[in-house]
Symmetry: C2
């Protein structure tokens, strides 16, 4: 379960152009998104999701992309799994499900006129 701090970290991570593009790239890029070698869709731009492969799509130095990926990982938006000398990057869909649920509840409750006691932890 994501607490308020977690959510703020997620929004902060997505509130930067470079990280948002990396996020989109990872979630919609059709990469081979796993060390289990799921096959990518061939029409799509990339073949793998190690740090270097992601960085190739951006005009920034590798350490810069590495740091952005770390921030996405710290926000639990992606996972990074080391295997041999590469790091495999995958979407963390669980986090996205929780965020999706938060907004769904917000909108739903608003439409129903539900009013909450303000809670500084969620």
């Amino acid at each position: 379960m994501l607490n308020m701090e977690d959510k703020i970290k997620i929004f902060k991570a997505l509130g930067n152009e470079t990280r948002f593009k990396i996020f989109k790239n990872i979630f919609t890029g059709g990469y081979a998104c796993s060390i289990d070698d799921k096959q990518p869709n061939d029409d799509i731009i990339a073949q793998a999701t190690c740090v270097t492969s992601i960085a190739e799509h951006f005009d920034f130095a590798l350490p810069t992309i590495s740091r952005h990926l770390k921030e996405l990982k710290d926000a639990k938006i992606i996972t990074m799994t080391k295997s041999k000398n590469k790091i495999y990057i995958e979407p963390n869909i669980e986090t996205m499900k929780e965020i999706a649920e938060c907004f769904a509840v917000l909108v739903n409750d608003y439409d129903k006129g539900v009013v909450y006691q303000y809670d500084n932890t969620k």
Copy 2:
């Protein structure tokens, strides 16, 4: 329709602790959320949504809260409507619906194994 830039602005706005709390306060606080004088729920912390009323719940100077509110407004997360010499603040539920929809689609498509062509505009 929110484009990529709009979304980044929304996430940036929500990715700050003070603004996130203001956002939660406005969306879940049960204020009298309109110049039409919708009645607030009496159990709830606040009675109105002018800038000063919001600021009372935070340990920051008024201009600081004012600037945060402007950022939430610029991100289309809230609306600010001037009436006489007060500004009435309301949730912009349309924006939240769009964001909710984005995450719902992301999660849904992921579960269905849908793969997109990377699109740098959405």
